[in-house]
C-alpha cells in the first residue's frame, strides 16, 4: 500500500487513471487500527486490479477534509481521480470493504 501525504495525494490519486482505494486512518482511531490488517490483506489480494493507498490524518488533516473526510474510519474509492464511494462508521467491517472492491473491479 502506498503511503499518502500532502505532497503525493494528487499525483497518486487525483491523477490516477482507474480505480483507487484510500484508507484514511489515525493512531487514536481504534476501529482503524483493527481494520488495518484486513485492509492490508485485501490490498495484497486485489492489488493487480485496483490501487491501494493509506493516509495518516496526522499532519494531513486538510488533505482529508478536502476529500470530504471528517471522521474515522473512512475508506474512500476513486475512479479516474473522482470520488465514487465513501465507507465510514464504527461498525464498518472488512466484508463491506471487500464487497465495494468487487463492485469496482
Amino acid at each position: 500500500m502506498i503511503e499518502l501525504g500532502k505532497e503525493n495525494f494528487d499525483s497518486e490519486i487525483k491523477e490516477h487513471q482507474g480505480v483507487a482505494m484510500v484508507d484514511f486512518w489515525g493512531e487514536s482511531c481504534g476501529r482503524c487500527m483493527e481494520l488495518m490488517p484486513d485492509v492490508i490483506e485485501l490490498a495484497d489480494r486485489y492489488e493487480s486490479d485496483i490501487k491501494f493507498a493509506k493516509l495518516n490524518i496526522k499532519g494531513n488533516r486538510r488533505v482529508a477534509m478536502g476529500q470530504g473526510v471528517m471522521g474515522l474510519p473512512s475508506i474512500v474509492f476513486y475512479k479516474d481521480g473522482e470520488k465514487i464511494e465513501h465507507l465510514s462508521g464504527e461498525e464498518l467491517e472488512a466484508e463491506q470493504i471487500e464487497e465495494a472492491i468487487k463492485r469496482y473491479i
Binding site: 489515525g26 481504534g30 471528517m70 473512512s74
Partner: protein
C-alpha cells in the same frame, strides 16, 4: 466434541475483563469472546477518566490495558468473535454460544457483558454526514475539528465532559439542550466545568431538526421546543452524545429484557440459569466503569457457585447408582431443622443417602423441581423424581421408604 469452558464471557469491556480477572484467578477455564480486534470497550474510547477509584490520573485506554493484562496474568483465553446467538443445550446445563461466522462454543456458564453503543437519533442528514462532520466519539475525531465551530447534542455527563475535552481542539462548542435554561442531565461537577468554560455556550429548550451540508456539514436547523421556531446555524460539525443502546439483539427471546437491557437479580443472574449479565447491558441505575467492574466480579463468583452446585447435583443425585433422598430445606427455618434430624436417622436405618439442598443459598435446583413448600423431600431413582412429600410430619416421612 469441542472443549467445554467453565465460563464464557461475551464482551471485553470493563465488565467482561473484571469478570475475567475473577474467573481466571478462581482457576476456571475461561474464554472471553470480543467482537472487536481490541479489548477495552467504551472506556477505551474516552480520554477523560477521572472517577475510577484509585486511578487518580490515567486515560481510558491505559486503564483498560491494565484490566487486560490482569486477565492475561491469570490465564484467561481471548478469541475474536461477534456473538449472534445463545441457547441452553438439551442437558439443561451447558450453553451453546454461536458467533457470526458460525462457530459454536460450549460453556457451563455465560457472562454477558456486551455493553452499549451510541444511540443514533435518525435526524435528517445524520447518517448521510457520518464521518463528514457528524461524529459520536470525541477522542477519535476531535483532531478534524481543530479551530472549527461545532454543535454538541445532549446534556448528560458524557455530552458535558466530552464538550469540555473538545474545547482543547475546537474554536467553540454550542450545546443543544432539551431542557429549560440552566437544566442539564449531567452531575453538578460536570456542569460547573462546562459553565466555567468560555468556549462553551448553550442553546436551551431545543433539538436539532436537520443536519445540512454539501459534501461536509455546514449547518444545522434547530427547533425551539417552546415556540416551535426553527433557526439555522452555521457549524462545521455535530457531535451526538444522546445516550446509548444496549447490545442485546442476540438475546431476544433467550433471556428476559427490559427496554433492551438485561433484567438481573442481585447476583447478576438472568432468567436463564447459569447466564449472568454485567455492566452497561444490565437494567440498572448507574452505568460507569466502576459499576461495570463491580458487576463483573459478582457475576464471576455467582457463575462459579452455579457450576459447583450443578456439578454437585449431577454427581450426587442424577448419576447416583442407588436411590437418593433429596431434602430441600432452609437452615433458618425451624420446621426444616426438625425434619432434617428425623430424616437422617430414618434414612440411615434404610441405608439410604440423604442429599441436602439449601434453598436459602440458591433456588436454582428447587425451581427446576417446582418446590414451593419448604421443607420438601423427594426420593430419586436413576435421575428421576420417584416420590415427593411436602412439609412432611415425622410419620409421613415413612411413605418415602
Amino acid at each position: 466434541m469441542s472443549e467445554v469452558y467453565d465460563v464464557l464471557i461475551i464482551g471485553g469491556g470493563a465488565g467482561g475483563l473484571s469478570a475475567g480477572v475473577y474467573c481466571g484467578r478462581g482457576k476456571m477455564k475461561t474464554l472471553v469472546l470480543e467482537g472487536s480486534a481490541r479489548t477495552g470497550g467504551q472506556c477505551a474510547k474516552t480520554n477523560e477518566l477521572e472517577n475510577y477509584p484509585g486511578i487518580v490520573e490515567s486515560t481510558g485506554p491505559a486503564l483498560m490495558d491494565k484490566f487486560r493484562e490482569h486477565c492475561d496474568k491469570f490465564g484467561v483465553e481471548f478469541q475474536r468473535g461477534m456473538v449472534s446467538g445463545l441457547k441452553m443445550a438439551e442437558d439443561g446445563f451447558t450453553k451453546d454460544v454461536t458467533t457470526k461466522d458460525g462457530t459454536v462454543y460450549q460453556a457451563k456458564s455465560v457472562i454477558v457483558a456486551t455493553g452499549a453503543n451510541p444511540r443514533i437519533l435518525g435526524i435528517k442528514g445524520e447518517r448521510e454526514f457520518t464521518a463528514k462532520g457528524v461524529a459520536y466519539c470525541a477522542t477519535c475525531d476531535a483532531e478534524f475539528f481543530e479551530d472549527l465551530d461545532i454543535i454538541v447534542v445532549g446534556s448528560g455527563n458524557t455530552a458535558v465532559e466530552e464538550s469540555v475535552f473538545l474545547t482543547k481542539f475546537v474554536n467553540s462548542v454550542r450545546m443543544v439542550v432539551l431542557h429549560d435554561e440552566g437544566t442539564m442531565d449531567a452531575d453538578r461537577t460536570a456542569q460547573e466545568q462546562a459553565l466555567a468554560n468560555d468556549k462553551i455556550s448553550f442553546i436551551w429548550n431545543s433539538t436539532v431538526e436537520e443536519i445540512c451540508g454539501d459534501e461536509l456539514v455546514n449547518g444545522v436547523r434547530i427547533k425551539n421546543l417552546k415556540t416551535g421556531e426553527i433557526t439555522e446555524h452555521d457549524t462545521d460539525g455535530v457531535f451526538m452524545f444522546v445516550g446509548t443502546v444496549p447490545n442485546t439483539d442476540f438475546l431476544e427471546g433467550a433471556v428476559e429484557l427490559n427496554r433492551g437491557y438485561i433484567k438481573v437479580d442481585d447476583k447478576m443472574g438472568t432468567s436463564m440459569p447459569g447466564v449472568f449479565g454485567a455492566g452497561d447491558v444490565n437494567d440498572k441505575w448507574l452505568r460507569q466503569v466502576v459499576t461495570a467492574a463491580g458487576d463483573g466480579a459478582i457475576a464471576a463468583v455467582a457463575a462459579e457457585r452455579y457450576i459447583a452446585e450443578e456439578e454437585h447435583w449431577s454427581h450426587s443425585v442424577l448419576e447416583a447408582k442407588e436411590d437418593r433422598l433429596v431434602a430441600f430445606w432452609n437452615p433458618l427455618d425451624k420446621q426444616s431443622l426438625e425434619l432434617m434430624s428425623q430424616l437422617e436417622t430414618r434414612a440411615e436405618a434404610h441405608s439410604l443417602k440423604v442429599v441436602t439442598i439449601d434453598t436459602y443459598k440458591s433456588r436454582n435446583i428447587a425451581d427446576r423441581y417446582e418446590i414451593t413448600q419448604i421443607p420438601t423431600v423427594i426420593r430419586f431413582r436413576d435421575g428421576e423424581a420417584l416420590k415427593r412429600i411436602e412439609a412432611p410430619s415425622a410419620e409421613k416421612l415413612e411413605e418415602l421408604f
